[in-house]
């Protein structure tokens, strides 16, 4: 992620130094009476990255690391408290130039579809709202196309969400996202509510749609093997900051940050069960009171006094690592 490519035409999405702080202070009365101070939760703390057009950028981390907040900031569901998010304009089929369309695919396919609407209305909503197609007949034929694209049958349009399984509902969510002719899809744990065999179906569908429509994905997940399968580039997030970024291939084959290595080392894996492990210990600290210095130092085997006081910056070009003990490339 050199400066040269920072403004290149290739990136569909550029996030610069984005932050999201939440004020989680006790009430004014409590603060006055009990002498408590304001508290700020730094959910996302100065994160920068860019996503190449037509590629998949994944953010991996454990619960509470801020990856979902980051996704919500990108789609505009959460206002950043600092930094900027920039979308490169896109040239459409009819020659017009405009900002790209963004859609989000949520984790829980049971909560993200209106239970009282028929599937055809769910999929048609963005088309009607954005007035993309005129005429009911044309809309219906577009819906039939969309449902076929995601592997459902056009007749499914007249059914309600409860009649579908989790995997089929996630297909409906994807059809709804595609209905806007979206360019960028932000997927927040799209398969973690699904069984593995269904997960494979959805991941295959997403890869196929990416090839077919040139979609750009921002993919949020805690599942490393899913991320490995989907991503071109990845970022490992820990307590609101990126600790390592780079091309997925390199990060997985040669992880550099101790946290990335811990993740790759410890996750139960069917291919290499019971591999030799470093001593496992520690848990994710409370994000309201992160440790000083490098936030990972209490769990890190390499930690030195410097790590306890000085926060490491994310250094490097193609591969970035935020660690005092690892030399940047």
């Amino acid at each position: 992620m050199s400066l040269a490519s920072l403004h290149g035409a290739q990136s569909a999405l550029t996030v610069s130094d984005a932050s999201c702080y939440f004020d989680v202070s006790p009430s004014l009365l409590t603060r006055v009476l009990q002498g408590e101070s304001r508290r700020v939760l730094r959910a996302v703390d100065g994160v920068s990255f860019e996503v190449e057009r037509g590629k998949t950028f994944s953010v991996v981390g454990e619960s509470g690391c801020g990856k979902s907040t980051l996704a919500r900031m990108v789609v505009g569901l959460q206002a950043p408290t600092g930094g900027s998010i920039h979308f490169a304009p896109i040239v459409r089929k009819d020659g017009s130039v405009g900002p790209p369309r963004l859609q989000m695919i949520f984790q829980d396919p049971f909560a993200s579809l209106n239970p009282r609407w028929r599937v055809c209305d769910i999929v048609a909503e963005p088309i009607r709202e954005l007035m993309l197609i005129n005429g009911e007949a044309a809309i219906q034929s577009r819906i039939a196309d969309l449902l076929t694209t995601v592997g459902l049958s056009p007749a499914d349009g007249s059914r309600y969400p409860h009649e579908f399984s989790g995997g089929q509902r996630q297909r409906i969510s994807i059809a709804r996202a595609l209905a806007t002719e979206a360019d960028i899809l932000v997927c927040d744990e799209p398969t973690s509510a699904l069984d593995v065999s269904v997960q494979a179906q959805i991941l295959n569908l997403m890869r196929r749609l990416q090839d077919e429509f040139g979609l750009t994905y921002l993919f949020i997940s805690h599942n490393l093997s899913v991320v490995r399968h989907m991503s071109d580039a990845i970022a490992i997030m820990y307590l609101g900051r990126f600790v390592e970024t780079g091309p997925a291939e390199q990060v997985f084959s040669a992880p550099r940050h101790p946290y990335t290595r811990l993740l790759l080392d410890t996750i139960p894996n069917v291919e290499t069960p019971n591999r030799a492990r470093r001593a496992l210990s520690g848990e994710v600290p409370n994000p309201i009171a992160p440790p000083p210095g490098c936030p990972f130092h209490p769990r890190c085997a390499l930690a030195e006094p410097r790590c306890r006081s000085e926060r490491p910056a994310l250094l490097g070009h193609a591969r970035q690592v935020a660690c005092h003990m690892v030399a940047p490339d």
Binding site: D195, V226, T266, E283
Partner: protein, 327 residues
């Protein structure tokens, strides 16, 4: 592993049904399994396969309208599926412990973990309060809670998810059970914590000679933890055997598909192998082999005749099992 003469837990032809207004639904269909003393049996399957129900039936906590309609469950040779409710309650916690998925809902939010442990210990073991508290402290240390002397007086909300699950494990150990049913014990936990919990389960099993039935959908957890594995599909066990054999050379087409649909950590494939379709609902289980509509190898026999598990160490319930390629 050759089966010892008397397995600790022996389930034979367990049949669990739900009587609903749509008729009788068969949720578990002739499930048979054995767990030897000190053994970890993994039970794996997708949602709706009946894996949790198997565990629930063994601890006798089936909720109506579900009930056991046939078969028998024996613990150390003694029938436990037809016990009166008093005896069944004494059995639970004392001889069979349970660990559930969500450690927060398994703990009482208004009692300190010390109180909860002490109460459980006193219910099952003849101990005074002070003795029980000392035992509680010992259990917390055993499951790896740091600064247990202080933490014993904390409430569940003061613990992180991984630590709560350790407390739940300590609770399950309180009655010194011979068998622990662990239903998705790592699913609600963060990825870097999962291995800590499976390592703990394995150590406890080794140290106490305790048996564990580990129910999960995660093949990785099974491969790490279990000695043997039973793969369930639509209420039946369709493949069972030593964990190494089942994960490396699966023989049932469903298991093969399940293993292939897990994305690899080593290489990035262009496309994952997928099993089309979904598991049948309970009211529409196909005749013959329940997997036949999704199976690429299905023959006429598969559509009409139900295959049974073979009687050998690595056995499948399939008419056209895949022969492992010699590696």
């Amino acid at each position: 592993m050759s089966d010892p003469p008397v397995p600790l837990l022996s389930v034979r032809d367990l049949h669990v049904v739900f009587d609903t207004r749509f008729g009788r639904l068969t949720a578990l269909d002739h499930v048979s399994l054995d767990i030897a003393p000190g053994e970890i049996l993994g039970v794996v399957g997708e949602s709706g396969a009946g894996k949790s129900l198997t565990g629930t039936a063994i601890i006798g906590l089936l909720d109506p309208p579900g009930h056991v309609a046939g078969g028998e469950i024996r613990l150390d040779g003694q029938r436990i599926d037809n016990l009166p409710s008093d005896a069944a309650r004494r059995l639970r916690g004392k001889r069979i412990g349970a660990i559930f998925q969500d450690p927060l809902t398994s703990l009482h939010p208004m009692l300190t973990i010390g109180d909860q442990l002490t109460e459980t210990i006193q219910v099952h073991l003849p101990m005074g309060r002070a003795e029980a508290r000392a035992r509680a402290l010992q259990l917390l240390q055993e499951v790896g809670i740091p600064a247990a002397e202080m933490r014993i007086d904390h409430y569940p909300h003061q613990f992180s998810g991984g630590m709560r699950q350790r407390v739940v494990i300590a609770l399950a150990l309180a009655g010194e059970p011979e068998l622990i049913i662990a239903d998705e014990p790592t699913t609600a936990l963060d990825v870097s914590i999962q291995a800590q919990i499976t390592t703990l389960l394995k150590r406890l099993c080794r140290d106490h000679g305790m048996s564990v039935m580990l129910i999960t959908h995660d093949m990785g957890v099974i491969a790490e933890t279990a000695d043997r594995v039973a793969v369930m599909y639509a209420g039946r066990i369709i493949e069972t055997g030593p964990v190494e054999a089942v994960t490396r050379t699966p023989r049932h087409p469903y298991t093969v598909g399940l293993m292939a649909s897990i994305p690899s950590m080593r290489v990035r494939e262009a496309e994952l192998k997928q099993i089309d379709g979904a598991m049948p609902r309970l009211h529409a289980i196909p005749s013959g082999c329940a997997f036949n509509p999704r199976c690429t190898l299905a023959s006429d026999r598969c559509r009409t005749e139900r295959p049974d598990l073979e009687a050998q160490a690595h056995s499948v319930a399939c008419w056209n099992p895949i022969v492992a390629a010699p590696s």
